[in-house]
């Protein structure tokens, strides 16, 4: 059975558009669009609103391979990706025309763009979904996922998340991120109502919806919980809220304690989860019962998953049926799908005597800024290319800041910040810049990122 069929089996599932308060049964989105029956690629610039959910469901129910992409990508990045992958259809409500594409009115509500040349290059039948590893840098590197990956992930999550038939769940995490996608798939399989929204926790309308529809759950990366604390969320009562989920990094200890002390007496549950796009979602979770004693742990593996720690590098390795089938960086890569047995997470981990895992560092040069993963080498290259190939070194500082080190005395901090803001939508306040006379190097001539990081203290 396909994920789509399992979702359609949840016959009482309802989607609500909070902007109009209109609701749609899951059957209303069954083949509700006129699309060609073929194996090809569709780009969905998904904003979590009702339209993108309808489009996503229709293509899940087709032979198409779906790529979920950020609607906030700059137009240049969108065109570059479309050039590389030649999608047959595009859903992007933000554009009125795309060169090389015709408008296809797929229904009275939904407009698609259809490639004039009807590309039909071969795509491996096991590839159902392509997700970007970065989300916002416009990198053409996609993670190839199968139906089986998606179903295994969703079913493993349903083993521990208390999702019920009468649940009302907001899509307040973008579905283009694997965590948001997991919220969508698990609730589509088992919950009663999904609120299709892109409103965020700093919008009054989000809280109006929260009370009006009585959200059963909330999800977020650490940054979202920091905002919740800032707006005094944990000082108020929400009798309808049953559980919260968190992923995308470790909560600071103080906040973890605030949350633990909030949920415990109220009988609510807080789930810490650990995952990656390459695992089609989750790899581990911390049971709410362990929150008090193990609040810095990612918990234990999900059902059918297992961890090993590489004895020499201490890298956390994951095995399970949700491990992806390889990366794609060009359309020719869509012709293969190699189910992986071991996923190298790039995280350095420890396991305590009771079998709980802890992330203590990273092997890969990855930083998570506001919950979004950025490859530091990639950022470095983007900056170098923009600034005449000059020397830059990028370092992540505790998933809070991006430290940029450079040699050019004439280069103003503002220029770099402005560039990163425009290109990668990084807020200047999370960027720290240090001009130095010499970039620290290791004996073999590579940038010594460990020494470079200490420059952060001087910014």
């Amino acid at each position: 059975m396909r994920l789509y069929d399992l979702i359609q089996n949840n016959k009482k599932l309802t989607f609500i558009d909070p902007f109009t308060d209109r609701s749609y049964g899951v059957a209303d989105f069954h083949h509700s669009l006129v699309i060609d029956d073929r194996q090809a690629l569709v780009f969905i610039y998904a904003d979590n609103l009702i339209g993108s959910i309808e489009v996503f469901l229709n293509f899940l129910g087709s032979r198409f391979t779906v790529s979920l992409l950020s609607p906030q990508l700059s137009p240049v990045y969108k065109q570059e990706l479309e050039e590389v992958y030649q999608p047959y259809y595009i859903y992007d409500p933000s554009r009125t025309e795309i060169p090389g594409f015709d408008i296809h009115e797929a229904s009275s509500r939904i407009r698609l763009f259809q490639h004039q040349l009807k590309p039909d290059y071969p795509i491996h039948p096991d590839i159902k979904l392509l997700l970007s590893t970065s989300g916002t840098t416009g990198s053409p590197k996609f993670v190839k996922l199968s139906e089986e990956n998606l179903i295994h992930n969703a079913e493993a999550i349903l083993e521990f998340l208390p999702i019920r038939e009468d649940d009302i769940t907001p899509l307040n995490v973008p579905v283009i991120f694997v965590y948001g996608l997991s919220i969508f798939t698990t609730n589509a399989l088992k919950a009663g109502t999904i609120i299709c929204t892109n409103r965020d926790v700093l919008q009054k309308e989000f809280w109006d919806d929260f009370v009006k529809y009585q959200f059963s759950s909330l999800g977020g990366v650490p940054y979202v919980y920091e905002m919740l604390q800032r707006i005094d969320f944990f000082k108020k009562e929400y009798p309808f809220l049953r559980y919260m989920t968190q992923t995308g990094g470790i909560l600071n200890q103080t906040l973890a304690k605030v949350i633990e002390e909030y949920v415990a007496p109220r009988g609510q549950q807080f789930f810490v989860m650990y995952g990656q796009t390459e695992a089609a979602g989750r790899m581990a979770y911390l049971s709410p019962a362990d929150l008090k004693t193990k609040n810095t742990s990612i918990g234990r593996p999900i059902r059918n998953g297992s961890f090993q720690i590489d004895p020499s590098t201490r890298e956390l390795l994951y095995s399970g049926p949700n491990v992806f089938g390889g990366y794609a960086t060009k359309s020719a890569d869509l012709n293969t799908f190699q189910p992986g047995d071991v996923l190298y997470t790039g995280d350095i981990a420890e396991k305590d005597e009771e079998g709980y895992y802890y992330i203590i560092g990273r092997i890969k040069r990855i930083v998570k800024l506001l919950g979004t993963r950025f490859n530091l080498d990639e950022i470095e290259l983007i900056i170098k290319n923009a600034f005449n190939g000059e020397t830059f070194a990028c370092i992540g500082v505790e998933d809070k800041h991006l430290l940029v080190i450079h040699l050019n005395q004439d280069l103003k901090d503002e220029e770099i910040k402005q560039f990163l803001k425009t290109k990668l939508n990084l807020h200047p306040s999370i960027i720290k810049i240090k001009q130095v006379s010499k970039i620290p190097l290791t004996p073999n001539g590579k940038v010594d990122y460990t020494s470079a990081r200490s420059l952060y203290q001087q910014v």
């Binding site: 906030q72 965020d200 926790v201 700093l202 919008q203 009054k204 809280w207 940054y223 905002m227 800032r230 707006i231 005094d232 506001l370 910040k417 402005q418 803001k421 939508n425 807020h427 200047p428 306040s429 999370i430």
Partner: protein, 81 residues
């Protein structure tokens, strides 16, 4: 410094947009620059610049330029026009 001019400067700094782009049409999430991150920066900057402590309900209400000004009036830091 004129309070209104000071407000514009705080907005420009927090949202990281040029001062010329600060106008009454700006609203939360209406431009990419005014997102959740910069909104929290904005709240902190307003508190520092005007020496006030903004209540949480007001943080969510301050979602347009006119609303920001209106609520700052409530805190007694902006003159009524």
């Amino acid at each position: 410094m004129d309070k209104s001019q000071k407000l514009d400067e705080v907005m420009a700094l927090a949202l990281s947009v040029p001062l010329e782009e600060i106008n009454d049409d700006l609203a939360y999430q209406s431009i990419p620059e005014w997102d959740s991150m910069s909104h929290m920066v904005l709240m902190t900057e307003l508190e520092t610049a005007f020496g006030i402590s903004i209540e949480t309900d007001d943080m969510l209400e301050m979602n347009t330029m006119p609303k920001v000004r209106e609520i700052l009036q409530k805190y007694g830091v902006m003159q009524t026009n």
